[in-house]
């Protein structure tokens, strides 16, 4: 593409989209002038200290069990990590940013905040309402408030560190999921590590293995889901340059994120002690919460589609890619129709790859802030190459 052929309208759309969306912005963690940076560092320090105080004395005795728990829960966390990176396809969040989010979830939110306040809240409920009531309901009426607020603090600190990068509902969903993933992975490890002391410490490895397996089996509905909804809701509540404030929608997502945390944690209470009813409550909770999460992603997507259209406006004007090809990678229905209309299986596969290539081009254009770079030229060439295959010409 020659930049001289681009109309001022297309270039203006691109510039406005890059300014509004923050696509292509870099994440810098070290920000001495930013109070969020110092608060993040200090509260992470508190979390590290608490973590060491908790595990330090036990590490030597339960080393085998801890190692098993760390490996299994780490592998589970890694699997979810790759999945979340895979679905983060629009404005791909910088690695440093999601690492900062997950680290907060794992260390500061768990040991800096949740451990202390959960213990106190569970005790208060038992004192006020009795042991029986607390056994049924205290967990589900503690964690949705204490843990969701602890994770949300990390998300907000990241907003403070990267206000141009965290602007859309989709950003809230993805970054919230990473904060939640850090929390979930470390919480799973904590449960498994604590289980080493069961049976009076006579079978630490076996208990760590069993508890890790139990926690991993239920990891598909967990903190990433709850946090994604809460953080997405907070973006709507606060409003940003890229997302007008929507108080009703924001409150709905925040409350739903907390509500699903409650139904998941208190499934035993909701099932009134009946195993079948408890299982039913968990299944219903899982199905409905996953549906709401999918709805939230669908609702957040159009804003990202528009950014892609605007960022690629000069490219589309130059025919790389065409408007049809671009629409064919965005909306789900058009995407399916685009793939289906391919003349051969090879072309169908190429159309899938073309989608990825066009998104790569979008990211490269955004990273170059609209300038002509070697990376942009390469991405453009890739689109042209795959387009030929997708059209069945090769």
């Amino acid at each position: 593409m020659s930049t001289s052929t681009v109309t001022s309208d297309a270039a203006a759309r691109q510039a406005a989209a890059l300014e509004t969306s923050g696509w292509g912005q870099r994440f810098t963690f070290l920000q001495p002038h930013n109070l969020s940076f110092w608060v993040y560092v200090v509260l992470m320090g508190v979390g590290v200290f608490q973590t060491w105080s908790f595990f330090g004395p036990q590490i030597g005795f339960y080393a085998g069990g801890f190692a098993i728990a760390a490996v299994l829960c780490g592998l589970c966390g890694a699997a979810w990590w790759f999945w979340l990176r895979h679905i983060d396809r629009w404005e791909r969040q910088p690695l440093g940013l999601v690492v900062a989010g997950a680290a907060w979830g794992a260390i500061a939110a768990t040991f800096g905040y949740a451990m202390t306040v959960n213990t106190a809240m569970l005790s208060i409920y038992a004192k006020l309402f009795g042991q029986e009531w607390a056994a049924n309901w205290a967990a589900g009426l503690t964690a949705p408030f204490t843990e969701e607020s602890a994770k949300l603090c990390g998300f907000l600190l990241i907003m403070g560190l990267a206000p141009r990068l965290v602007r859309t509902a989709n950003d809230g969903l993805v970054i919230g999921a990473f904060v939640g993933l850090g929390f979930a992975a470390f919480e799973d490890f904590l449960y498994a590590a604590n289980s080493t002391g069961l049976a009076f410490g006579t079978d630490p490895e076996g208990n760590a293995l069993r508890m890790s397996a139990t926690r991993i089996s239920a990891s598909f509905v967990s903190h990433p889901l709850f946090s994604a909804l809460v953080c997405c809701g907070v973006i709507y509540l606060l409003g940003t340059a890229a997302q007008p404030r929507r108080i009703g929608r924001g409150l709905t997502f925040v409350v739903l994120g907390m509500f699903f945390h409650f139904t998941w944690d208190d499934a035993v209470g909701l099932g009134a002690g009946n195993g079948l009813l408890t299982f039913g409550a968990m299944i219903l909770s899982a199905v409905v919460s996953l549906w709401v999460l999918a709805y939230a992603f669908r609702h957040a997507a159009p804003a990202e589609y528009q950014f892609v259209r605007d960022i690629l406006a000069p490219e589309v004007e130059a025919g790389v890619p065409t408007a049809d090809e671009l629409e064919g990678i965005l909306d789900k229905k058009q995407r399916k129709a685009f793939k289906k209309s391919a003349p051969s299986r090879k072309a169908k596969r190429a159309r899938k790859h073309l989608r990825r290539a066009i998104l790569d081009l979008t990211h490269d254009v955004a990273n170059a802030h609209g300038a002509e770079t070697e990376q942009v030229r390469h991405a453009r060439a890739e689109v042209a190459r795959l387009r030929a295959v997708a059209a069945g010409q090769v």
Binding site: Q25, R26, F27, T28, L30, Q31, P32, H33, N34, L35, S36, F37, W38, V39, Y40, L43, V46, P57, Q58, G60, F61, Y113, A114, T116, V117, T119, A120, M121, S123, I124, A126, K127, L128, G130, Q131, E132, A135, N136, T146, S149, A150, C153, G154, L156, L157, M159, G160, L161, A162, P163, R164, L165, G197, A199, F200, G201, T202, D203, V268, G273
Partner: protein, 208 residues
């Protein structure tokens, strides 16, 4: 200007600056600090300010497992535990009751050795993971529960306080009882503690 632009080197615009910091980052940071203080200072203090007020009523029992229960002394406060006869009770678990500064806790778990072996294991684990000063005295006392299960009772000492530990093994389930508190109160409560330990018994499913 956004906060992220040249953030490590650029001076914050004067209208956004306070003590060299960017004021636009304050709301996020102060929210996190406020939540932290509520979570780790305010709520724990509220908890500390509330006293336990869940006294054991005559005839009540606490469920330790699906098949084990014990009878806490009437008037002691239940700090942790699941009553057998309460409405809507779910499950069973560790128990802790307290009175006049003395706390008695009961914990169960799979164990297939003798009560004396359980005491040895308890000492080994506690010394290695919790309190290196935890030492169980050599003088062992036999205690038989009302149901006829035979266990051992020994005193222990540690830097954090002294007390007694009792161990039973009932049908493959180890039972660890710990009682601790100020020496005078612990001595005064000795009979009640023995009675609670002796009340540990097997309960049949469905008879609860």
């Amino acid at each position: 200007m956004a906060v992220t632009e040249d953030v490590t080197t650029r001076r914050v615009p004067v209208e956004h600056r306070l003590l060299g910091l960017d004021k636009r980052s304050f709301p996020y940071a102060l929210f996190a600090v406020a939540v932290f203080l509520v979570a780790t200072v305010l709520i724990p203090r509220i908890d500390d300010a509330l006293d336990w007020d869940d006294p054991v009523q005559a005839g009540e029992q606490l469920a330790l497992t699906d098949t084990l229960a014990f009878v806490p002394t009437t008037g002691w406060n239940v700090v942790r535990g699941v009553r057998l006869e309460g409405a809507g009770i779910i499950g069973s678990g560790p128990a802790a009751v307290t009175s006049d500064g003395v706390t008695l806790t009961i914990l169960t778990g799979e164990f297939d050795g003798t009560p004396q072996a359980l005491v040895t294991q308890i000492e080994k684990v506690t010394r290695s993971t919790d309190d290196p000063s935890f030492t169980i005295s050599a003088d062992t006392r036999t205690l038989t529960t009302d149901a006829g299960d035979v266990g051992v009772v020994q005193t222990y000492s540690s830097l954090t306080g002294d007390g007694l530990v009792a161990a039973f093994v009932i049908d493959g389930t180890g039972v660890r009882v710990t009682a601790y508190g100020p020496p005078a109160q612990l001595h005064a409560a000795a009979e009640e503690i023995d009675a609670m330990i002796a009340s540990i018994r097997t309960v049949e499913r469905g008879t609860r």
